[in-house]
Amino acid sequence: MSTQQAIDASPSGDASVRDVVNAHTPFRYDRLILWVALGALLANFGWIVANNENFEWPVVGRYFFDPTVMQGLYVSLGLTVVAMVLGIALGLVLAVARMSTDRLASTLSAWFIWFFRGTPLLVQLIFWYNLSTLFPVLSISIPFGPTLASWDTNSVITPMTAAIAGLALNEAAYMAEIIRGGLLSVDRGQSETAEAFGMTRARALWRVIIPQAMRSIVPPTGNQLISMIKATSLVSVIAMADLLYSVQSIYNRTFEIIPMLMVAVIWYLLITSILNVGQGYIERYYSRGDRRTGKDGPAEKPTNTTMAEEATH
């Protein structure tokens, strides 16, 4: 009973001291030491790299905005955007088909994913590029019936179309599985509710399911986008002048291999850094229904009202 009284008695006296608003976080010296040590190590490494003559930094600077490099950068970025957009669009179709109750659609989708995920991208690119040796003429016709239209394969499959087809179809197979995972993560009750309200499946998907699935689709898609940027360097084998191909074409002439590769590396890092920032914004947009308090930002600090309540005791 006496201890009970002590507890009861104390708050009135030291209420403001006990108020967690006034709490201090102890300073962590161990963390500071780690930060300093790690910072020193990194600075030292940076210094060594910056002063290493073998990197030939002046050459890096000279070629960084070289027209050939810029041209290659445009090709890499353009390929990435086109292949990614096509890959996501086709991936969405494949994911929906894969989950559909229609056996034909789900089987076709499963086979597509099986094939394009199961073979190396490099091999797919080379196959697309050499399609004319397998099928010299591409035609649209009724199976076993008359031909409606035909084209010479070599005029259709340029390095550009081979690269886009290879990258996009491969990407679609991966995106299909990412999107399917996202769609599955949405509570079953949501599609049921949309159904009960008379929405068609397409509308339910578009308005209710996909916006919620985006939260788990965006992070791995960011991953895919970044690996796509680097995967575009594979198209150098089919004579597409992408970023890597263009720095190679320069160092084949000048033999400044390392500095030219550094040009490519720094460009790749710059682009992926920008994409990381963009991904952060997209993620925040799709988690908007998830915040418990006001429009944005974390929960507000305890305000005067809670303090006032305390004071009235």
């Binding site: 509570d187 009750g189 949501q190 049921e192 509710t193 159904e195 009960a196 309200f197 008379g198 929405m199 068609t200 499946r201 509308r203 308005r207 209710v208 916006p211 919620q212 799709y286 908007r288 229904g289 998830d290 915040r291 418990r292 308090t293």
Partner: protein, 259 residues
């Protein structure tokens, strides 16, 4: 006993059977619901009452029998004297005048309260946005949540979410409202606000089928109480008859637990 009703029933269920795999959940349900009638379905867990409710708007397909709503057979139509299954989009069209309120509220979490309410009127019924917003404001006032119009569902209490869900179902101007255990997921102190809203609707002549465990609500608001057990309707009648003077031993045993 009131005078014999000559109107057509809004809902007519005949010999409804439903099985999940080998588990028989509904074993021949016959039920007519008149326009404006409030029917409360009671029964122990696993009696099939929620499943029956979900069959009425074809969220579950039935295995035998037939269900008519407003003169249309749900999920099927007659063509050249034969019964043909409807396409998913045709079934979606049949559901347009049936509102539903779920146990877990199922509000769309990525939309604000207003967006939740106008989604079906604008997107499914083709109502203009302005008139849907107008109607949504009126409905929110009716369920007492006008100030929450721009909130997201997760910022609301369970009781508030369920009242928004009721407003959302009313927004499609339903001929029939289905309530699937609307208070079962709520904290006890929040049950009252939802039941009050439902009582108001019952008084205004909305046709309602309510699956619930709230005996008190059945007694006050129901025109008819239906007691289900083990996939069949065991007993039905006025609240006074079924709740006050149950005839069947299973009804008696069930009600004894609430005394």
């Amino acid at each position: 006993m009131s005078a014999p009703d000559t109107r057509e029933p809004l809902v007519r269920a005949r010999n409804v059977h439903k099985a999940f795999e080998s588990l028989e959940v509904l074993k021949g349900i016959d039920l007519d619901v008149m326009p404006g009638e409030v029917v409360v379905i009671l029964g122990p867990s696993g009696s099939g009452k929620s499943t029956f409710l979900r069959c009425i708007n074809h969220l579950e397909a039935i295995g035998r029998g037939s269900i008519m709503v407003g003169g249309e057979q749900i999920g099927y139509r007659m063509k050249d004297g034969r019964l043909v299954r409807l396409s998913a989009n045709a079934i979606a069209r049949q559901r347009r005048r049936i509102g539903m309120v779920f146990q877990q509220f199922n509000l769309y979490p990525h939309m604000t309260v207003l967006q939740n309410i106008i989604e079906a009127p604008v997107g499914v019924h083709g109502e203009s946005r302005a008139s849907a917003v107008e109607n949504a404001k009126r409905l929110l006032a009716r369920v007492g949540l006008s100030e929450k119009i721009d909130s997201y569902p997760r910022q609301l209490s369970g009781g508030q979410q369920q009242r928004v869900a009721i407003a959302r179902a009313l927004a499609i101007r339903p001929d029939l409202m289905l309530f699937d255990e609307p208070t079962s997921a709520l904290d006890p102190e929040l049950v009252g606000e939802v039941l009050n809203t439902m009582r108001d609707l019952a008084r205004q002549g909305l046709t309602m089928i309510v699956v619930t465990h709230e005996i008190g609500f059945a007694r006050e608001a129901a025109d008819r109480v239906v007691f289900m057990d083990d996939g069949v309707i065991v007993e039905q009648g006025t609240p006074d008859a079924v709740l006050g003077n149950p005839q069947h031993p299973r009804t008696k045993a069930f009600l004894a637990r609430f005394l």
